[in-house]
Symmetry: C2
């Protein structure tokens, strides 16, 4: 367990980056609409790849770079909104500041992720000790803000710790539990896997959520191209009548999922499963002679 200040002082850095990132996000939203904002968020996938390569010195093959770009394209494809629903002309018509802030936001988010991975992997400390350091600094920053607010408000409503759980219902606690567990899982990913695995997990979770929303809530996710009406005649239960299952599906969501799945396979599959690598790399003169067999003459 590393407890010297030289190591501990690195742990507030992710909190500070996220602090700046959150403020940049709000600034971005002043310039762009939410659809553009959501779509620009996918830029984070590419910036994470770049910073992952630069700071963690991980070498990616060309195919893995292509996979990262395809993941960004796939998630974007499934998110692009139809004109009917959202404002058509507003998307991509934001002032240039909006795009600059969006790019900055993607870089900051990637930087925080890559830095956290560096922190988690730099020594063999227990995951829990590392999390304690990360979250303690996060809590201190948040408490500092609450204290400042209290002083500004002149303690009219009493100190912040008396109002900390005001309005907490069972739903609130479930949200806290959910976010807390996610945080622990992410730190586990950062220590034992890497940022790219996290990016893939996040994208897959997003797509899974969209698919489940289609079925559970009849949510119309993106460009609602149409309804697939699947009529199950239910011959076996004909006495129960014919069930007609009508579910809506977005063709763009479907296309996005295919692209993301291909990307996943391209990134993680071992090379010999993707391309035919000759078992021994040495020039085989016979294989060259065999080529003209293809063009046999009938005459």
């Amino acid at each position: 367990m590393t407890t010297d200040w030289k190591s501990v002082r690195l742990f507030p850095i992710p909190s500070v980056i996220y602090l700046i990132h959150n403020n940049v996000q709000f600034a971005t939203l002043m310039y762009v609409d939410t659809s553009t904002y959501q779509i620009m968020g996918n830029l984070k996938i590419v910036t994470t790849g770049i910073l992952f390569r630069l700071f963690l010195k991980k070498k990616l093959s060309n195919l893995q770079w292509m996979a990262i770009v395809l993941l960004a394209v796939g998630t974007t494809t499934s998110q692009v909104k139809g004109c009917g629903e959202a404002s058509c002309d507003s998307l991509f018509s934001a002032p240039i500041q909006g795009y600059m802030l969006g790019i900055l936001s993607a870089c900051l988010s990637a930087l925080a992720g890559v830095y956290t991975e560096f922190l988690m992997k730099k020594n063999n400390d227990s995951l829990f000790w590392q999390n304690i350091q990360l979250y303690t600094f996060g809590s201190i920053f948040n408490m500092a803000r609450l204290v400042v607010d209290d002083f500004r408000g002149g303690f009219e409503k009493g100190p912040w710790w008396q109002r900390l759980f005001n309005g907490y219902s069972i739903t609130t606690w479930l949200v806290v539990l959910n976010l807390g567990s996610t945080g622990l899982l992410v730190s586990w990913l950062m220590k034992y896997a890497d940022n790219i695995v996290k990016v893939y997990s996040t994208s897959m979770a997003m797509l899974l959520t969209m698919v489940l929303s289609v079925f559970l809530f009849s949510f119309k996710p993106t460009l609602q191209v149409g309804f697939i009406a699947v009529k199950l005649a239910c011959h076996h239960f004909s006495n129960l009548g014919s069930y007609i299952f009508v579910f809506s599906a977005s063709s763009q969501l479907f296309l996005g999922i295919i692209v993301c799945m291909m990307s996943l396979h391209m990134y993680f599959a071992p090379p010999h499963m993707l391309v035919d690598i000759p078992p021994a790399i040495k020039s085989d003169p016979e294989s060259l002679v065999n080529v003209p067999v293809d063009r046999k003459t009938d005459s």
Copy 2:
């Protein structure tokens, strides 16, 4: 030059397949709307890959299969229409016969392509002799139809060859010239390249047409997500005023093009450019020992 009947008798077969294919296409359009029809047309890319593998015994790597699926997804992405323009609910709500005919159409089209490639490659005959055989049979089939029509109409308008060029303007001749040149180029592709190259060329031509249409005709290709307003301040020509170039671009077209370009690279790039193939495939025990260096302890 192969002139025996055993070889020549194979050349009407593509014409016959295309004859059936054309009729299936019209039957398909009785069931589905044009948007669905256009999107189902991309299925041809995948069926061409499958028949290419089955009949021409060309081995494709897993990555090349993925590239073919991605090409189909990419072209579809750029074609999916927005709800504002086309009928939203009609797409993918066609009766099952429409889909069956669409699949049949994709298979027939691929079969004709693969069979033509087999014909062009099966001997070293000149490309022109092979084309003469192909087009002669095509002309005979068309003339037969014209004669049948004449007999049905009782030669009221005279024989067909007197009316063959009625209504031909310079535009008509340019279309004929264009289609004729395309036909010759395709036969060249079939002989010296293959069906997959043809599929990529067709898709790239389609995307190029869409991009050019955006710029030349302000054509709104698919889901018109928005306008990218690029203001070129033209500092160098400030006395000429500020030019404001506003061009519309479809984000889906853009996403589709990225996917297609990735696919192109995945299919045609040599494997060593895509993945890092170790120069000598033998187990190197040292590389395994080196792994824990990554987790150096600071304590």
